[in-house]
């Protein structure tokens, strides 16, 4: 293991291909406000080198602001940002080792693809032979070799975004920020490029930060996920863990597609009642709760329709809409507590208006208290 520490403000050492420097990006209680409006509140994160980190949250939840803070494009109103233990809060982005890929394909329109990819190296005064080597490497990794002499405007959207990614890659930055880079691409292109991304950056050892609004993307990218809601990080951890074990209702809602199904319950004097005065048996996961209001959350794949299922909670409902994609069927039912979405694998053609029995798998249910914190989660207890 190298004891060599590279100062983040010195890019030139990258020319010599010095690997093995360790890099941690830490945010300590960072807040950011613009014009009286708080965009980021009290965020603390610690990200290790060579990891893929996903920022998951709806639009305007602060993902872009957070990334700009990490890059050094904005200065936080309070809190510190540390790279490798060193405080970089005041250091300009030019002196940091950062590369950023945007949602809009940002390329120099008058330069060829080759020059576009080479641009950060030209700025760093890397010699021509090295430039050529690295550009060819990046172009090969992203499948751009046949297009090196064209200009970005002659390329399709997907290819333009690849050029932007190649430019970020060739810089060998310590920190690579991707702000919803695939959002403007066609569905299928998005799938393809998404699969390639971790592989493309794997060798560079950089910290990858990827912002997205889609839970499926987070699950496919793996790594760690931080869920954001209204400028706060509601949960951070390995992606699968954040998905399966949300600590807050905000994290569960953000990380569910189809949206999280919810049910409000009241526990009082040993009885559990729903909004329509129906009572539930006080046993199992509901037994250990204190009196108060709770929200039960359950994902679409944990409801089943049809008669004769054992255990769990059962409701009578009416099907409102059925959506079939071939692989999956989404059935929207109204069981008297708002519309719930049920996800079933395969093709299930249920006619709208039909009456069905809705069965919730209580082993996968989450119970959130009035403050939105997790109060009970049978799936965790089972695996504990």
């Amino acid at each position: 293991m190298h004891a060599l520490r590279v100062r983040s403000s010195n890019d030139r050492l990258h020319e010599f291909g010095l690997e093995g420097w360790s890099l941690d990006l830490t945010l300590e209680q960072v807040s950011f406000a613009v014009g009286g409006e708080s965009l980021i509140s009290d965020v603390s994160l610690s990200l290790a080198r060579g990891t893929m980190n996903v920022l998951l949250g709806p639009t305007l939840s602060g993902k872009t602001s957070l990334m700009r803070l990490m890059a050094g494009l904005e200065r936080p109103s309070s809190g510190r940002i540390l790279i490798d233990g060193k405080d970089v809060t005041g250091i300009a982005v030019r002196q940091r080792s950062v590369a950023m890929v945007y949602q809009q394909f940002v390329n120099y329109p008058t330069l060829s693809v080759y020059e576009n990819i080479a641009s950060p190296l030209r700025v760093a005064r890397v010699n021509a032979a090295e430039v050529d080597k690295r550009v060819q490497e990046a172009a090969k990794l992203l499948g751009l070799i046949p297009m090196l002499q064209r200009t970005p405007l002659q390329l399709s959207g997907g290819q333009q975004q690849r050029v932007a990614i190649a430019r970020a890659l060739v810089k060998r930055a310590e920190l690579v920020l991707l702000d919803e880079p695939l959002a403007n691409l066609d569905y299928k292109l998005r799938e393809e490029l998404r699969e390639e991304l971790p592989r493309i950056f794997a060798a560079s050892g950089a910290i990858l930060i990827y912002a997205t609004t889609e839970p499926t993307e987070a699950l496919l990218l793996g790594g760690n996920t931080a869920t954001l809601w209204e400028g706060r990080v509601t949960q951070v951890g390995p992606t699968a863990q954040v998905y399966r074990q949300p600590h807050q209702i905000a994290a569960a809602r953000v990380f569910s597609d189809p949206p999280l199904n919810e049910l409000a319950v009241e526990k009082r004097d040993g009885l559990v009642t729903l909004a329509d005065s129906r009572q539930l048996p006080v046993s199992g996961f509901l037994g250990g709760l204190a009196d108060g209001s709770y929200r039960l959350g359950f994902r679409a794949e944990h409801i089943a329709l049809g008669a004769g299922r054992e255990g769990g909670l059962t409701f009578q409902g009416v099907v409102k809409v059925t959506e079939l994609t071939g692989s999956e069927s989404f059935i929207h039912v109204d069981a008297g507590h708002g519309t719930w979405v049920c996800l079933a694998r395969g093709v299930h053609e249920i006619v709208p208006g039909a009456a069905v029995e809705v069965h919730i798998d209580t082993r996968q249910i989450f119970v959130f208290d009035a403050a939105g914190q997790i109060a009970a989660a049978p799936s965790l207890a089972a695996s504990a």
Binding site: V34, G35, R75, G90, A92
Partner: protein, 298 residues
């Protein structure tokens, strides 16, 4: 308050500009302030006069105050009139300008031409243009039977000065609005067609709201420029007939260079400057307030 990340080398680039601004603007400005609080009894000796000049300036019963009040009134009326004419006219012209195809280039060039002419040349053009003996405009109007003589008649003088400003500056409003209109996505026009909206409806409900920001800039620029106007009317009318077209700037030059009354001129300059700054600040606040209400871009 937190500053942006610091890069000290940048100051060296700014230094030459700072020196130039210092000598061409700051030092003269301090000199003017100096003059405005002093009086002289000739031979370059000055004594402290406090705010006396300012008091005299703002008191309409004194000669200076009276002249100032009159000139200020004329400036405001002038600015008001040209805004009333130039803004709607500019919008109307921009609506007629072609937005795509080969005609765009030549149209833009023609519209830009009046803006490129040096201001005293503009004045000279209109001075000759308006003459009743050899000027096309003057001769033509008189031949229609209307009494027109900008050297003798105040109304004619105003008409000439206003017409000249409209001819000179409407293009600016038109070009700004043209840029604003070009930025409107096609989908809005398509949706309006599908909704069966009339041309007037499209203007009122799509184009005008989207032009709001551009119009604020245009109005601000035109107000400031017209309020500070000097060269063009001075070349044409010299402030006359009488003092019917004597604007503040014209009067100021008369006091400072004609009568060599530095104290009064300095006071007048400063008050003039403050009025313009106040208007700018007002417009700036209004624009940023508008921006905030529409939400910041994400």
């Amino acid at each position: 308050m937190n500053d942006k990340p610091v890069n000290n080398r940048a100051w060296f680039f700014v230094l030459p500009v700072l020196i130039i601004v210092l000598f061409s603007a700051l030092l003269p400005l301090m000199t003017v302030v100096n003059y405005s609080v002093q009086d002289t009894i000739g031979q370059n000796s000055f004594f402290w006069n406090g705010a006396a000049w300012f008091r005299e300036l703002l008191d309409p019963t004194t000669d200076l105050g009276d002249r100032f009040a009159g000139a200020l009134q004329r400036n405001l009326v002038f600015s008001f009139i040209i805004l009333i004419i130039e803004v709607p006219l500019g919008i109307a012209i921009s609506l007629c300008m072609p937005r795509s195809g080969w005609k765009v280039g030549p149209t833009l060039v023609i519209m830009a031409l009046p803006l490129l002419i040096p201001w005293n040349v503009v004045g000279t053009i209109w001075q000759i243009f308006g003459r009743i003996d050899i000027g096309l405009l003057g001769y033509f109007i008189n031949s229609l039977g209307i009494d027109y003589n900008y050297t003798g008649d105040a109304a004619s003088a105003w008409f000439t000065v206003v017409a000249m400003d409209v001819w000179h500056w409407t293009s600016l409003v038109a070009l700004l609005c043209f840029a604003g209109l070009k930025a409107i996505p096609d989908a809005y026009y398509q949706a309006a067609r599908i909704d069966g909206a009339s041309r007037l409806s499209v203007f009122r409900n799509i184009e005008l709201p989207k032009l709001r920001r551009v119009l604020v800039i245009a109005i601000l620029l035109r107000f400031m420029d017209s309020f500070m106007i000097y060269t063009e009317p001075f070349v044409v009318t010299g402030g006359g007939p009488g003092n019917s077209t004597t604007f503040i700037s014209v009067d100021l030059v008369k006091i400072a260079l004609g009568e060599f009354d530095l104290g009064r001129a300095a006071a007048l300059s400063l008050v003039y400057n403050i009025i313009i700054l106040a208007v700018c600040w007002l417009f700036f606040t209004v624009t940023t307030h508008l921006d905030q209400r529409e939400g910041r871009p994400s």
